[in-house]
């Protein structure tokens, strides 16, 4: 297991350098620069522009800028946002809990609904129930997120008025951010009704963000389950006279879950991509929208720092998934 872990960790090093290089060059390959965009129609004097570019270190050769950037990373310095004048890492840490909370709720929702739905569809293979579940999953998978979010807002918040339109908590509540997770902070604040308000604000964005992963997980569970249900050991278990629930729960599910866990791990990337749209619709103050705004502004340090941090999180989650995979499936860790 240790060798397995070390092998996985070793892979992270080239990945890290790859990511820094991609993040660094990506934003610089885009035409336009932050100063032209800041000045807009008003324009900026070329001398003044050169002076400011020098002040930010953008006059150095690219390789020098890259080395400065990598050295900065090892000192925990990702640079300063051109727009807000705040350190990139501080901004990320302020905003990330909002995205994490939303993504966690979404993935929990997707797993809790997706796996049972997939099992059910597999067990009832070929029935109307199976077709209905898989049909719905296909619709969910191809759902345009922005449209779907607005539709839910108009129906549930506008017409039925069950849920708030957007934001993380009612504006009536105002308490300091402790963990950044609104569900926890609202409980810590001790203010009456704050927690319920935070939950209500989470419902629609979680549903929207969970839609695609839910569909993927349901489909993946169904096909993995079908494969396993046809195996000899399942037939043996049935032949032993085990109840259908223990055949499925004990023997089939554990093996069927292996590819599903991988799928869940891969959904983290999907969640973060989906968060960009979901955060914009629901005015959710997370990293997705922050990054998109920064790309539009050519806020170099935010984009290269933000991409690196997000890539780091995805790598970490994938590492955890790999380890879990090894735990569920002993064959992997021995290879």
């Amino acid at each position: 297991m240790l060798r397995f872990l070390l092998g996985r960790l070793g892979l992270l090093i080239p990945t890290f350098f790859g990511v820094t290089l991609v993040a660094f060059s990506f934003i610089r390959l885009l035409p336009g620069d932050p100063l032209d965009l800041l000045a807009g129609e008003r324009g900026i004097d070329p001398e003044r522009k050169a002076e400011l570019m020098a002040q930010m270190g953008f006059d150095k050769p690219l390789w020098q800028q890259y080395i400065d950037y990598v050295i900065g990373i090892f000192h925990g310095d990702l640079g300063t946002s051109f727009a807000s004048k705040k350190p990139v890492l501080d901004e990320f840490l302020t905003l990330f809990p909002a995205t994490a909370e939303l993504a966690l709720c979404a993935i929990i929702l997707a797993v809790c609904l997706g796996i049972p739905a997939g099992i059910f569809a597999a067990v009832k293979r070929g029935t109307i129930a199976d077709q209905a579940i898989m049909g719905t999953a296909l619709v969910g998978y191809s759902m345009p997120i922005f449209w779907w979010g607005l539709l839910l807002i108009i129906f549930f918040s506008g017409i039925l008025q069950w849920t708030p339109v957007s934001g993380r908590i009612s504006l009536l509540y105002f308490f300091p951010q402790v963990t950044g997770f609104m569900l926890i902070d609202s409980l810590l604040s001790g203010e009456k009704g704050a927690f319920i308000s935070a939950v209500r604000h989470l419902i629609l964005p979680s549903i929207v963000l969970a839609t695609i992963p839910l569909a993927v997980i349901a489909r993946q569970t169904r096909s993995a389950m079908l494969e396993v249900l046809g195996e000899d050991y399942v037939r043996t278990a049935r032949a032993k006279g085990l109840t259908p629930s223990s055949v499925i729960g004990l023997h089939a599910l554990r093996n069927a879950l292996i590819p599903v866990v991988t799928t869940i791990g891969l959904q983290v990337g999907v969640l973060l991509a989906g968060a960009i749209l979901t955060e914009t619709i629901f005015s959710w103050p997370g990293i997705g929208k922050w990054l998109v705004d920064s790309i539009a502004r050519r806020d170099y340090f935010v984009v290269q720092g933000g991409l690196l941090l997000i890539a780091g999180i995805i790598m970490l989650v994938n590492l955890i998934v790999d380890v879990l995979y090894g735990l569920i499936n002993p064959r992997i860790r021995h290879h």
């Binding site: 129609e41 002040q55 930010m56 506008g158 957007s166 504006l171 209500r200």
Partner: protein, 534 residues
């Protein structure tokens, strides 16, 4: 169904409990703003969204625009005198003006001349300790308005008198001082941060003299302000002002309808009819202080001939553009300045849409089989909601007079920088939103000889026009300036360096409970003087 009822009752009960728990006596106005401020030290930035959240609620200026107009009124300066030669502006400062007392700063003195000197010198002097107080500091508006060349020095005469000495006469100077970058900050607060070694807080926890004091900002989510109890102009009627940052226009409207906010900016044009029909909402509208235009390159043949430019102007069907691009939220432009601006030349006759005449004029000018480029901006701007669509309409119009148009576009930063090129190939769609309500801010910036190779996209330098606008800069009498600008507009129309296209109309939907809101022709959003009916 029962479940639905129970759920709805539970949720409704929960929200009522919340309102009861927090007390309904304080009046809170919620504004669903369109984006996050970059920071709160206004002079560092150029974006309207940042100004709305910083300079407008938090600060005052020496002079202020009278709400709803571009007329200048006394602000922190009670009065001012301009010397005969137009080089010295002396301001008599208001006494007894208090800075905000907040959880992070308690002022020990009232506003005085030191604050004025500090507010400007930090932008002007490169060796000032606050000139580069945070990484990437760029006083871009101050620089953009050519203040470093204009201001020679700022002198504290006594505690309540400040003198600005200029290098040359500049009639729009007073209007410039009403702009956002000229907001007055607290020198005492700056000193206390400097000694604590936390200068960067100046941009994050602002202190001003304005109608509202800063309470807190949760990044990308909520900004909170409280009414300034000791405001020199009287305490506001609303106790709390909240900006709920809501980037999507459709979501803003849903929040407004659900009562989650009271005022929203920038509705989607498609929603206007729906908003008008809603009896709970009020829709205010105002002509924007802007112009959208097509600038020919007057340095490149055949556009160096005014007959050719004039002919093409007759080929543009402005009504078709208003219908297709502005969808009822625009007005055809005949002058380079908007009709809400003083000195607008009512007498100007627009080049009417007449393709036959255009063809004749082109033939008379000896132009045949003309092919040209039309540049379409890649972004939505107040003066042009869809440049691509506009370019397509122009393409079709020009095809009718035998001119073949190729539409080109670049990324926004590139677009702005490439379109400045004197040898640029093609006519450029662009526009302008006024900064200070002074005609000089349109005519000199966009059409003056200094702007060639820069903000003058037509690369047009006309001696008659230039003489008029230069003279108008030095004259302080408004009636005389008006006359000069009217003449300049006549020269412009005759020379046709642009096809003037449209001025947009700006809409502002709000709850019908909101009273006292006044729209700003300069595009800002102000909440002093606003109240909510119970």
């Amino acid at each position: 169904m029962n479940f639905q009822k129970t759920l709805k009752a539970t949720l409704l009960g929960a929200s009522l409990a919340v309102i009861a728990a927090t007390g309904a006596s304080a009046k809170t106005l919620v504004y669903c703003s369109e984006g996050s401020p970059e920071g709160f030290d206004t002079a560092l930035y150029t974006a309207g969204t940042t100004f709305d959240a910083s300079s407008k609620p938090l600060y005052n200026r020496l002079v202020e625009f009278k709400r709803g107009t571009t007329e200048v009124l006394p602000g922190l300066a009670e009065s001012w005198e301009v010397s005969e030669d137009g080089l010295e502006y002396t301001f008599n400062l208001r006494k007894g003006v208090k800075f905000h007392t907040t959880s992070f700063f308690t002022p020990s003195r009232d506003f005085n001349a030191d604050d004025v000197v500090f507010s400007f010198e930090r932008q002007l002097k490169k060796d000032h300790p606050w000139h580069e107080y945070t990484p990437g500091t760029a006083w871009e508006y101050f620089n953009g308005m050519s203040m470093p060349d204009l201001i020679k020095e700022i002198v504290k005469v006594d505690d309540h008198t400040v003198k600005f000495v200029l290098n040359r006469p500049e009639a729009p100077m007073i209007a410039n001082l009403a702009m956002d970058f000229a907001s007055i900050v607290s020198a005492e607060y700056a000193d206390s941060l400097a000694s604590a070694g936390t200068k960067e807080q100046f941009n994050q926890q602002p202190v001003g003299t304005g109608p509202f004091a800063f309470v807190g900002y949760q990044k990308d989510a909520v900004i909170r302000y409280g009414a300034h109890a000791d405001y020199w102009n009287g305490k506001e009627k609303i106790d709390n002002l909240i900006f709920a940052i809501t980037p999507d226009a459709a979501v803003r409207l849903q929040k407004l309808k659900a009562g989650e906010c009271h005022v929203m900016p920038y509705p989607a044009p498609a929603d206007i009819a729906d908003i008008r029909a809603d009896s709970n909402l009020t829709l205010m509208e105002q002509q924007g202080l802007n112009v959208g235009y097509l600038a020919y390159n007057t340095k490149v043949a055949p556009f160096d001939k005014k007959e050719v430019r004039k002919a093409l102007n007759h080929a543009v069907n402005k009504q078709a553009i208003l219908d297709a691009v502005f969808q009822g939220s625009g007005q055809a432009a005949k002058n380079p300045i908007p009709p809400t601006m003083w000195s607008y030349n009512e007498a100007t006759e627009d080049d009417d849409y007449n393709p036959d005449l255009a063809k004749e004029m082109l033939a008379a000018a000896g132009v045949e089989n003309l092919s040209m480029k039309v540049w379409a901006m890649p972004v939505q701007r107040p003066y042009n909601p869809n440049a691509r669509r506009m370019a397509e309409v122009i393409q079709a119009d020009f095809a009718k007079v035998g001119v073949n148009v190729e539409i080109v576009s670049y990324e926004w930063g590139e677009y702005l920088s490439r379109s400045k090129d004197v040898d640029r190939d093609g006519a450029v769609l662009l526009g302008w939103t006024g900064d200070n309500g002074d005609p000089d801010n349109f005519l000199a910036v966009l059409l003056g000889c200094d702007g060639v190779g820069g903000s003058n996209r037509a690369q047009w330098c006309n001696d008659d026009f230039e003489a008029l606008i230069q003279k108008a800069k030095t004259v302080t009498d408004k009636a005389e300036r008006t006359k000069l600008y009217e003449e300049a507009q006549a020269v412009f129309k005759d020379e046709a360096p642009w096809a003037t296209i449209a001025h947009s109309v700006v809409f502002m939907p709000m709850s019908s409970k909101v009273t006292g809101y006044v729209m700003d022709p300069l595009g800002g959003h102000w909440f002093d003087g606003v109240d909510i009916a119970e």
